[in-house]
Amino acid sequence: MARSITYREAINEAIAQEMERDERVIVMGEDNVGGTGSPGEMDAWGGVLGVTKGLYGRFPDRVMDTPISESAFIGAAIGAATGGLRPVAELMFVDFMGVCFDQIYNQAAKFRYMFGGKAVTPVVIRTMWGAGLRAAAQHSQSLLSVFTHIPGLKVVVPSNPYDAKGLLIQSIRDDDPVIFAEHKMLYDTAGDVPAESYAIPFGEANVVREGDDVTIVAIGRMVATAQEAAEQLAGSGIQAEIIDPRTVSPLDTDTILESVENTGRLVVVDEANPRCSLATDISATVAQDAFGSLRAPIQMVTAPHTPVPFADSLEDVFIPDAQKVANAVKTAVEWKK
């Protein structure tokens, strides 16, 4: 039975259902309970934006607060995953990866390969990403390309509540280390989500909208932006196909290539900084593997090569909007050699 719940609730529900199903699932992070050692209530926070709220009440032995020591506790989650648990650890903002990245890319991601296939590290690192909350340069980054670059990691980027639940359940069941990237601006968005448990397989893109004139690949919050642009373009008779990869590692290149083979045009929309980004990754793959179908220059719509600014007047220009996407589509459609 599907009800409309928020992205935040969908994530909470996915964790709760997996904890119910599998005793080995534990949750840890800074104030994921909130209130440890303090004189007032426990479960006072449930994470900085309340995503894990209530889990402590249901599973008091399996939800734990951590000190501000990301290397130690993210590393502990990884170590615990090699020892029979299935930890869901929270790196509050993805911006903080710089104080614990070693444990993620040199340890978790490489164990299996370095150890000749003899390690299994089922850890999920939940983390909040993206701009829009006026949280400035150190709390608004995307950085997903950095994780995607690393062999051994899987990177999951749900764009809506339904995917958030199904992909998180899959992440927890998956035997590889997973970065589960939650867009902070989506927490309050609602959508239909089945009450029962379900898993969405990795590497299967979602074709959000069909169309024959241009393929738009959009990541995370940009899926909605692309949809807005597509509505606008439909008014001018341009039908855009929108692809939401859902997981960027593994990436469903087949769906993207097939779409471009049909439309002949590609626009990639990614709110991250442009250099060595997911936008370039997807564009380059198409330029290599579907070149023969391309009828126009690939267009990348991204943030500029700047940190995320604080002022709303700047941040609003920093983040790609529907107008920019529509313009890029028009450039592609109108292009003549």
């Binding site: 909130g34 050692g37 007032g40 006072a44 926070w45 400035a136 940190p307 604080f310 002022a311 007047s313």
Partner: protein
Amino acid sequence: MTGTLPTSVTQELGPDALLQAYRTMRTIRDFEERVHEEFAGGDIPGFVHLYAGEEASATGVCTHLDDRDAIASTHRGHGHCIAKGVDVKAMMAEIYGKSTGSCRGKGGSMHIADLSKGMLGANGIVGGGPPLICGRALAAKQLGSGGVAVAFFGDGASNQGTTLESLNLASIWNLPAIFVAENNGYAEATSSSWSVATDDIADRAAAFGMPGVIVDGFDFFAVYEAAGEAIARARDGGGPTLIEVKFTRYFGHFEGDQQLYRADEVAQAREKLDCLKRFRGRVTETGQLTGDQLDAIDVEVAKLIDESVVEAKAAPKPGPDDLLTDVYVSY
């Protein structure tokens, strides 16, 4: 309540210095109280962490500092900025995201900085400051400027590897660095009595071969004295010190925090321990200053804060062209 204050220290500071210290603390308090109100009004965006209650720390330390010296701050940075002399109106404008702000609206509350004042920035990364301060101390030492560098950080940050590494580095490089652990009892909602494995953060000093002291953070004079000793030692080539300052924060972790994890410690502290009240009690008791002198400052500060808000609200936002500037010195 004021009887515990060290008398020799109060005497060392003349009336001007005392008035200045009071003005700084009062400015911080009013600034924060006002930001609290304005935030509630919905005008201020983003994450805002207020320093109210902790004024004696920034002020007690920075009273010893001058232009040679640098400080690094935290997400809870307004107080450190004001104490190090950053322009209050520019700060308020920054918090509103205006082009007249300290960082021209690009930084916001968590990144207010003024390098020209040796203020290296509030910092959105817990534990981000201590390594930088090792560098500022190294620069002072190499350049022979006589400067010192001070890292302010919280109890939560005292568990961060970057902070702990910095204590060791400062010690073995014998740097003129001071580490001020501001223990306000919480990192977000988590109690420092749980998250810090020792009784006191100052206990960690011994693990890195430096002196560690604990001071009552509600007491300007206590902070002033401990910091004075540490800073003098650092200037003399005697190396770093870890100072733990204990107090409580008056507001939530950030604006919007419901604070369900707390008891009623704030009401108590505001009533019985408040640094401004104690300072006033002390200096009027000793006759160094009069209540009227302090009241006059209160009025001036209230006006300043008021103007800063009015001006901040009226100031222009940065324009779209500003988006692309300031990434590099040259590219």
